[in-house]
């Protein structure tokens, strides 16, 4: 790894830790638009029709938020990841694992005294067939939590390439790990470990930040620091790489020519579209065209994106250092940004189209923190892992895309006062 690479990683770690130790709340600066950095958004007339879409065609806005912290039973408020399953929500924190029972609302947690092999959990995936929970451990390798027992795999007792595991994904009978020294693939049937590095994969750098599996196309996607996004076809075991065509590290010289930056943080594939996040914005690829998303053009909270997850080819959630950004309707270039106030539990959701602020929806209870690093979907609901607890967006009445329901934001905003900040 070059010293430059190490420097970027150090920056990432520092930023993450600064954030979890107390990132300043985002302040809604004024009523002119996005505020702060976004004040330079193009000033389009309110209500102006865009490509036949009325300003009354609005996306769904989550106005009911529940937040969970250590007071509710979380082992730690600094959360790194969240995984939603039909019955429970798994939460990985800086110091322990938690499971929220959706039916009872109770949280059970495990730390090292309870057998958890390592305190920091950076990623979680659940095998849909067996129910086994796989944990990526930041410095501790990999763990399987099954039937109440933790099984620990690390670089000394197994074929795992490195113990700094950022991402974990279940692919058929394989467990993929994105680690700081390459990707590992563990076959749970045969016990065989494969390692993917620059020797056998198109990794100019081997610092893997994230891995995800797309069952619909039977492909694995890796987000790699310095190597963009790598696609692994499970059937053919062939790699394909998506790197920044302009090869510019600091700017996206030619927009929409490909992935926006080779330093990527996450990838997510849904309905034929690949979404990739970076610290310099996010992008989307439909198999033919790329499209970049930048805060200054869209109203998204920040380009510094720790993580993303796609709900469909039309909707994706970005976890940034300054709030939650949502491409709410790709087709109409419509976005929602969620913020929390610095001085209270409330916040605001801002709706943008083509960078123009359409609406602001005040939230009596907003997300738990503006720095976040994990998101997952749970039917119509959404869960966010933030630097100060877990946020649950209740998607009652959720609809994809946009809908001509001009009363919806105001109505919902009025109804949001029922939420409590801490359940």
């Amino acid at each position: 790894m070059t010293s430059n690479t190490a420097g970027y990683f150090a920056s990432f770690i520092m930023l993450m830790w600064v954030a979890v130790q107390g990132c300043p709340e985002y302040a809604i600066a004024d009523d002119s638009g996005a505020g702060g950095k976004n004040s330079s958004l193009p000033a389009l007339a309110f209500g102006q029709s865009v490509d036949g879409i009325s300003d009354e065609d609005l996306p769904y806005v989550y106005t009911q938020w529940e937040n969970y912290t250590v007071e509710d039973g979380l082992p730690n408020d600094h959360l790194f990841c969240v995984k939603a399953t039909p019955d429970v929500i798994w939460i990985g924190s800086e110091n322990g694992l938690a499971r929220l029972d959706k039916k009872s609302g109770k949280i059970q947690s495990w730390n090292e005294e309870d057998g958890l092999p390592w305190r920091a959990i950076t990623s979680i995936d659940v095998d849909p067939k067996t129910g086994d929970v796989w944990l990526g451990l930041f410095g501790g390798g990999l763990a399987r939590f099954s039937g109440g027992r933790f099984e620990h795999f690390h670089q000394l007792n197994s074929g795992l390439v490195n113990d700094v595991v950022y991402g974990v994904a279940v692919e058929n009978n394989h467990i993929w790990c994105a680690t700081t020294a390459g990707a590992s693939r563990y076959d749970v049937i045969t016990g065989k470990w494969d390692i993917y590095t620059e020797k056998n994969a198109p990794m100019e750098e081997i610092w893997n930040y994230n891995v995800t599996y797309a069952p619909s196309v039977n492909k694995v996607f890796l987000a790699v620091w310095g190597s963009g996004c790598l696609e692994f076809d499970v059937a053919t075991e062939k790699w394909k790489d998506y790197i920044d065509p302009d090869k510019e590290m600091e700017i996206d010289l030619y927009r929409d020519d490909g992935i926006i930056h080779v330093i990527t943080t996450a990838a997510s594939f849904a309905d034929g579209a690949l979404w990739v996040s970076a610290y310099f914005g996010c992008c989307r690829y439909d198999g033919r065209h790329w499209r970049g998303f930048y805060a200054h053009e869209t109203g998204l909270p920040s380009d510094f994106t720790n993580f993303l997850k796609a709900r469909s080819a039309n909707e994706a959630w970005f976890c940034t250092d300054k709030g939650a950004g949502v491409v709410a309707d790709y087709a109409t270039d419509t976005y929602v940004a969620y913020y929390r106030n610095s001085d209270n539990s409330g916040g605001v959701a801002k709706i943008y189209r083509q960078g123009r602020l359409l609406r602001e929806v005040p939230l009596e209870v907003s997300i738990a923190h503006n720095f976040m690093i994990g998101v997952d979907f749970d039917g119509d609901d959404v869960w966010l892992a933030t630097a100060h607890g877990l946020s649950h967006g209740i998607g009652k009445g959720y609809y994809p895309g946009v809908k001509r329901a001009p009363q919806q934001p105001q109505t919902v905003a009025a109804a949001s006062s029922t939420s409590a900040d801490s359940k």
Partner: protein, 957 residues
């Protein structure tokens, strides 16, 4: 006296490894790396015969090396294989082929088409794969040839195959090789004035109408099976096979001279027409797989075989598939008046005959049944018994109490279960890693499904939709979609999942695990009962059983509130001389409550142990539990209410610490013991009846117990032989506690299925914790002498006799008959085929890379690895042990010395933990944690992916 060696290796030994076909797989030629391949003796013979080259090939052809492969089809070979724990034909065993063939471990692409494994121990077995030095110009330059892979072995290196082996000694009765004499016998020196002058053969007789010669090796592909007549072996052991080679002898020249033939008889048509196949009759052409060097082979009598080879799957017809009829005139054409040799047609023809007939059971001896587990059909009419030895399921009519059918299944069937409608039965075949599906109406196997390694327990869910198969060695549970007959998922189990039981409401499946989890070094065992929610097909709970291992049988109480399971409590942390709290192994019963809490009680009483509790069943009314003691031929009757009262009257501390070790409590809940025939294992109760059935595994009978009187009221004969062979006697001794102190345990207690229970023992009375040693498998043990980690016991008879007497049998040592039988049986415990590389399969890319590492001679940065620090120096094939002791840096403060036996590596992937003290939980840990100074091979320069590759290769052994 055992000669101790400390990292001193004969440098020539490695050379032998290389010539075993396993050496480095690439050569640097003029800067390019090439991979030599085996070309076969026929290619070598093109230059290495004839007077100018010392008739080297002819000398080889008349040696036993040339017959080595054919020898594998002899009855003796099958017996040797059996005593080596080889459960397949010798020709299908890498272990046997390693010394009886060439390039046994090579991949298919590493053998040229001209190579035939049937040619036995050929030139390249000793001299290395020849493709890169076979060229005459290279071969004549010794230095260059050596660079290109030519090896010149020394006599010591022959020991890799010719060192004494117990299996061969036992069968061949001391017919050991005189190495010095043999070395002289096989000498084939190259003359000082050697010239590469090829024999000049006359033109071949040709006829375009005839098929082509394909060669004996091609015939052997179908005709080497000893169960079908062993045609190839029968031919190879006749003088016919040496017919060309003898032409190189002085006697042949004399005869030729008398016939008026001058010159080398090998080049004269008059001689060749009766001494080879290819000159014996015309053919359209000769394929590369055939040559004069095979002498008078199949095609000499049966005619050129290409057409037959193409149509061999069709019904036999000499006319249709091109074979000639062999009769007296066919023989007379050569043998009549042949050099004055007497030839009696009927007798000699009979001698050379090789009829097509199965000889499968020629040497097999009595075929026992060995019923292991039982299941009653849902209608209560039939009982199925999975019979390990006979590879079958015996069907018993419950009303008539007699055997009514027997259904052949796979290897070593272990358990049987019915679908809820009774139309289907499932049988786990632990040797084959399969499940047989039986249609109970037709009593036929309708499908065989692959599952994980060594499947044992089986259970079907209440709907009959899914079958759960417990794979003991892969430590997981296959979930089979019964309708689709395919495995849909694999659940992780504990270590060694063994038996499964489903609750009456169908929601919970509880599975025992015979091995303890890995625990910190020198801490007590912790075993697992795995609880599966059958409605979701997921593991929901892993109940831990502290201090216990050997969890085997399990049964739910009808209430569904708890399940009972059998267990052992091994006191492996203190010397075996300490008779504290039940001495070495106590035997008991566990109670798994629905909340995951576990209780333990002992079934032993002071001075009266209940060894090897193996299976348990609860009566239909839930009042009683019946537990089998395989090692004492008894069934214990447990009053469930008394057991529960005992537990409920105890406080939490007593339940956790006192009852699990209390030898005085069994009398409070064990009502009585019922005697059974030999080695009771599986037990079941017929639904709605007052009958229990017990599989007396080593008596081939099923005992019937009346649940009102708790008396054994009948026995059902499964049809096994009445005679008790030596092997059977040994098997009984192995599974019996009658000779151990307090009759507390049997050999099988620590060696379930002849394997390991994964514990490290403090055996010697030399202080607590001093010289701890890991248990070792008995599978394939005989040829790996000396025994024990210290390498102190030269023979099994010493190991099982005087050695065991010190610790286990004490004042009741085995009789000589018992000891001899026990040793014999132990040798026959099969070592299952390797799961990671079927015989002859290509290596995976990772395995191939791992092989390069295994045989590497330099580190990643080019440093030469000392000979004694290379993997293959001590772990060379086919046994993967040099059978010596070495210091590999694993000595711990509590070890008195650091010299330990080199373990064999067969199926090394399933014998964790590793190293002499079992301190390495995984293969990786051997090198990542316990080889800091590169004393156990040079490994610290390796990258993580290289270590992974090495381990993938080790798994193929």
């Amino acid at each position: 006296m055992i000669r101790r060696r400390r990292k001193r290796v004969n440098p020539r030994l490695l050379f032998l490894l290389l010539i075993c076909g396993l050496g480095r797989t690439s050569l640097a030629l003029d800067g390019d790396s090439v991979h030599p391949v085996y070309v076969g003796v026929k290619v070598c013979a093109q230059c290495h015969d004839g007077d100018a080259m010392g008739n080297q090939c002819s000398i080889w052809a008349r040696s036993r090396h040339a017959d080595a492969y054919a020898a594998l089809s002899k009855p003796e070979a099958r017996l040797i294989a059996k005593l080596s724990g080889v459960p397949v034909l010798p020709q299908q065993s890498p272990l046997c082929l390693g010394c009886h063939a060439t390039a046994a471990e090579a991949e298919p692409w590493e053998r040229d088409p001209s190579f035939a494994i049937q040619d036995g121990v050929q030139c390249e077995h000793c001299h290395g794969p020849g493709s890169e030095y076979a060229d005459a110009a290279v071969m004549m330059n010794r230095e260059l040839a050596m660079k290109r892979g030519l090896r010149m072995p020394a006599m010591e290196e022959c020991q890799a195959c010719h060192a004494p082996k117990g299996s061969h000694d036992a069968v061949l009765k001391g017919d050991r090789l005189d190495m010095a004499a043999a070395w002289e016998q096989i000498q084939h020196p190259t003359p000082e004035n050697a010239e590469l002058v090829k024999l000049s053969f006359p033109p071949l007789p040709s006829s375009a109408k005839e098929p082509a010669f394909v060669g004996a090796g091609s015939c052997a592909e179908c005709h080497a099976d000893p169960t079908k007549g062993d045609h190839f072996g029968a031919w190879r052991r006749t003088a016919h096979a040496d017919a060309f080679a003898v032409l190189a002898t002085a006697r042949a020249r004399e005869i030729a001279a008398k016939m008026g033939v001058s010159g080398d008889p090998r080049t004269k048509l008059e001689c060749l027409k009766c001494h080879t196949s290819v000159y014996h009759r015309p053919a359209s052409h000769v394929l590369g797989t055939a040559s004069v060097y095979e002498g008078v082979s199949c095609e000499a009598c049966h005619g050129p075989g290409s057409q037959h080879a193409e149509t061999c799957s069709r019904p036999r017809s000499t006319e249709k598939n091109g074979l000639l009829k062999v009769d007296a005139p066919a023989c007379s054409s050569c043998h009549e008046n042949a050099h004055g040799k007497p030839f009696q047609l009927p007798a000699n023809l009979a001698e050379a005959s090789h009829p097509i007939q199965a000889r499968e059971h020629e040497e097999a001896g009595p075929q026992y049944k060995t019923p292991i587990n039982l299941a009653v059909s849902p209608d209560g009419k039939e009982l199925y018994a999975a019979c390990e030895a006979s590879k079958s399921v015996v069907v018993v009519d419950i009303a008539a109490l007699r055997k009514v059918a027997e259904i052949g299944v796979g290897g070593q069937p272990h358990d049987v279960a019915f679908s809820p409608d009774g139309k289907t039965a499932f049988v786990s075949n632990r040797l084959d890693d399969t499940v047989s599906i039986i249609d109970t109406q037709s009593r036929t196997v309708t499908a065989t499904i692959p599952v994980g390694d060594e499947p044992h327990g089986l259970v079907v869910d209440k709907q009959g939709a899914f079958l759960y198969v417990l794979n003991t060695l892969s430590e997981d549970i296959s979930v089979i979609d019964v309708g689709k007959r395919t495995e849909v998922k694999r659940l992780s189990a504990g270590r060694g999942p063994w038996s499964a039981a489903i609750s009456r409401d169908g929601q919970w499946i509880a599975c025992t695990n015979v091995l303890s989890h890995f625990v910190p070094f020198r801490t007590p065992s912790r075993s697992e009962v795995t609880l599966i929610d059958a409605t979701r097909g997921m593991v929901t709970l892993r109940a831990m059983v502290p201090g216990a291992n050997g969890l085997r049988g399990i049964a739910w109480h009808p209430s569904g509130d708890f399940a009972l399971f059998t267990l052992n409590r091994h006191k492996n942390l203190v010397p075996m001389t300490r008779v504290v709290q039940g001495w070495t192994i106590t035997n008991g019963l566990g109670v798994l409550w629905r909340d995951g809490h576990v209780d333990q009680v002992l079934l032993d009483e002071p001075g009266i142990a209940f060894p090897d509790p193996t299976d348990v069943v609860v009566t239909n009314d839930g009042k009683y539990a019946l537990v089998t003691s395989a090692a004492s031929n008894r069934v214990a009757v447990v009053a469930v209410d008394r057991l529960l009262n005992l537990l409920q009257s105890a406080d939490e501390a007593e339940r956790a610490n006192v009852l699990p070790n209390h030898l005085g409590k069994a009398a409070e809940f064990v009502l009585q013991w019922i005697e059974t025939p030999v080695c009771p294992r599986g037990i079941t109760v017929a639904p709605g009846t007052d009958r229990a059935f017990v599989a007396a595994s080593l008596d081939d009978r099923i005992a019937v117990i009346d649940l009102n009187s708790f008396q054994s009221v009948a026995v059902i004969d499964l049809g096994g032989p009445q005679v008790v062979t030596k092997e059977r006697l040994g098997e009984r001794v192995f599974h019996s506690a009658m000779n151990t102190f307090h009759r507390q345990f049997a050999c099988s207690s620590c060696h379930p299925d002849g394997h390991v229970e994964g514990l490290t023992y403090d055996i010697e009375p030399d202080g607590i914790g001093v010289n701890p040693v890991d248990n070792r498998t008995l599978r394939g043990i005989l040829d790996t002498a000396p025994f024990k980690w210290e390498g102190l016991n030269p023979s099994l008879s010493r190991q099982c006799g005087p050695r065991l007497a010190v610790f286990f049998t004490r004042i009741h040592p085995f009789t000589q008959e018992q000891l001899s039988a026990l040793d014999y049986y132990i040798c026959t415990i099969p070592s299952p085929p390797n799961r990671h590389r079927p015989l002859g399969a290509e290596l995976t890319p990772a395995q191939r890379r791992g092989k390069e590492i295994f045989y590497r001679t330099t580190t990643n940065d080019g440093r030469l690895i000392p000979m004694e620090n290379r993997c293959s120096t001590c772990h060379y094939p086919p046994l993967y042990t040099d059978r010596r002791i070495h210091d590999v840096g694993t000595k711990l403060p509590l070890d008195e010395h650091g010299l330990f036996d080199t373990p064999q590596l067969f199926n090394v992937y399933n014998s964790a933990p590793y190293l002499h003290n079992g301190i390495a939980e995984t293969l990786e840990e051997i090198w990542t944690r316990f080889n800091p100074y590169d004393q156990h091979g040079v490994t610290n320069d390796m990258t993580k992916d290289q270590l992974n590759d090495l381990i993938e290769y080790l798994r193929t052994f």
